[in-house]
Amino acid sequence: MSEVVLAARGIRKSYQSGGLRIEVLRGVDIALGAGESVSIRGESGSGKSTLLNLLAGLDTPDGGNLAWGGEPANANRRATFLGIVFQSFYLIPEIDALANVLMAARMVKAPGAAERARAQDLIARVGLAERATHLPTQLSGGERQRVAVARALMNAPKLLLADEPTGNLDEYTGDAVVELLLELCRETQTALVLVTHNAAYAAKTGRQLFLRDGVLNGSNSVDVSAR
């Protein structure tokens, strides 16, 4: 297998709700190599977004280990190692599409000519070259999500996490966004974790996993002990 980009072992997470302790994840194992794509499906409330947030380092697991590129996950590495696409796009409303893409680069350093060229290239690649100077309020939902995809790939991350990227889009637009996501990840050899409800989208990824009862199951599930 190619370089291991993501390795999570025994991830556990629980929440206090009212007087109850609810265990959402009970020991999740997942591993991904460079350029691989995996989908995670599950019922509503099964903990898919919780798992994605843990894999992104946005939340702290109650137990287990998480490594990015063979080293422990670290918030300081998030900007350069991974990109995230959310269901609700989360574009910054005060700046235009190109500036939103460049925002990812600004987290690393002040963007120069090379970064601007890459951002323009990505904007064109997602089919929005003529809308680069438009504010998010002037873009449709699908266009905003494409800007978010470009932003997620701005720093050439090794890993891209997409949390139901088509959740707020119609079917046709959603199809286009998923195709774009998969194509770009293939081109850039970026590993992709796609959280989705949609079986058709899941089928387009290299592996399909199911989150049920707090653990991941599915075809071709990876033996993390071998890594």
């Binding site: 947030n53 992104a56 946005l58 939340d59 918030a75 300081n76 998030r78 900007a79 350069t80 995230i84 959310f86 609700s88 989360y90 910054i92 409303p93 005060e94 700046i95 235009d96 500036a99 925002m103 990812a104 600004r106 987290m107 690393v108 002040a110 504010l135 932003r151």
Partner: protein, 410 residues
């Protein structure tokens, strides 16, 4: 430019629409700074005008006699030889009785040495005609403008001056007639107290009125440029006979007035600083609302890799930019109002038909203004610092937000 500065600017001044909330926040700081500049400049102006008036009519140092100086030439020579002294001139000064057109008055008669007074005092700029002082003889006087008005006299008219020796003469059953003087000029300094109660005459005329012979009451001293007058005062008090003379700087002579002026200025400054503090609370309130409105955006920034410290800096930067912008505009507005202050004041006085009241109760005819660099720097620094501090609590709130909770926020 770091991302937090970039985003701070973009959030304060979004493209394509008027930055309403920013404008409101900036306006508060602007008004506070403008008022501070105006008040401290006017208060500074009072002090500056007092200095100008004193120094240009009496020099920086006053060597006063204990009683009178019977040998002024000797003392003059010692003073002139003191390092830092540019010129010195003797004077006699005291209250006299004046009558003209059946109207009495009791002004101060200042007898000056016509040959040397202009080396110490710049009286020519205050008199009409300017040569009035230089052309004085023992039978002529220059009368201050408001005194002339109250006596009903003009240049060319005659006034009668009663010597203070009159009382002594009357005790001895002697008749002491007033002396008649010809008015050869008017004096206008712009200070109510001086313009209403001053007469200039020759030194000899004053010595006769007071029966001093060749003695004088004191000596005015002009200090060389860029020389500290306090150092000159210290040297004079060392070399001159302590039994008969004592040198004072102009600040010592007017110490009480200047102390009150400084006290008023300081109190006004601190009271008016509260306007800036209130404006800062407005800035804090706006930024706190912004933190709430942008909770999910703050979560996004964390997801993109922003550190909590940088998120906090973004909001601190917004507070700083508001403070900087408001202060810059406020300084401009303050100086703009100062430029037209007299038009405004006279306009209001004219509207309320109180021009004379204004002149009577304020020491100056025009509202003075003098901005001290220290006052300006203190105003600018205090305003920017207070505004920036207003961003601390919103910044802290923003930094505390966990990305995952912020993203889930409704």
């Amino acid at each position: 430019m770091p991302w937090y500065l970039y985003l701070a600017c973009k959030q304060l001044f979004p493209s394509g629409r008027f930055p309403f909330f920013t404008a409101i926040s900036v306006l508060g700081v602007t008004l506070g700074v403008a008022v501070l500049i105006i008040v401290t400049s006017v208060m500074g102006g009072f002090g500056y005008e007092i200095r100008r008036m004193i120094v240009e009519t009496e020099g920086e140092v006053d060597v006063k006699a204990t009683g009178y100086l019977s040998d002024p030439q000797d003392v003059l020579a010692q003073i002139s030889a003191t390092p830092g002294v540019a010129a010195a001139t003797p004077y006699v000064k005291g209250v006299v009785g004046v009558q003209a057109n059946s109207r009495p008055a009791y002004p101060i008669f200042r007898g000056v040495d016509v040959g040397t007074i202009e080396r110490v005092a710049n009286l020519a700029r205050f008199t009409n005609p300017p040569s009035a002082i230089a052309n004085l003889d023992d039978d002529s006087v220059v009368v201050s403008s408001q005194l002339a008005t109250s006596l009903g006299v003009h240049v060319g008219d005659k006034i009668e001056i009663y010597s203070p020796l009159l009382i002594e003469k009357l005790k001895n059953d002697e008749v002491f007639l007033p002396r008649e003087f010809r008015v050869v000029g008017e004096l206008y300094i712009g200070h109510q107290q001086l313009d209403s109660s001053t007469i200039y005459g020759t030194l000899r005329a004053a010595q006769e009125l007071y029966g001093l012979g060749r003695s004088v009451h004191g000596i005015y001293v002009r200090v060389k440029p860029d020389v500290d007058e306090h150092a000159v005062v210290a040297r004079l008090n060392t070399t001159l006979p302590r039994a008969t003379t004592q040198a004072y700087s102009w600040m010592e002579s007017w110490a009480d007035f200047l102390w009150v002026l400084n006290l008023e200025k300081s109190i006004n400054f601190f009271l008016l600083l509260f306007i800036v503090i209130i404006a800062a609370f407005s800035v804090m309130s706006s930024l706190l609302i912004s933190v709430v409105r942008k909770t999910r955006e703050i979560g996004l920034l964390g997801a993109l890799g922003a550190r909590p410290r940088d998120v906090a800096l973004c909001f601190c930067a917004q507070a700083f930019i508001i403070g900087l912008t408001g202060t810059a505009i406020g300084v401009g507005m303050g100086f703009g109002v100062l430029a037209i202050r007299n038009d405004l004041v006279h306009g209001i006085a004219r509207l309320m038909q109180r021009q004379e009241t204004l002149r009577q109760f304020y020491q100056f005819s025009d509202l003075p203004s003098h901005t001290l660099t220290g006052d300006l720097v203190m105003t600018v620094v205090a305003s920017i610092v207070i505004s920036t501090l207003a961003g601390l609590i919103p910044a802290w709130r923003a930094a505390r937000l966990k990305p995952v909770e912020a993203l889930r926020s409704e």
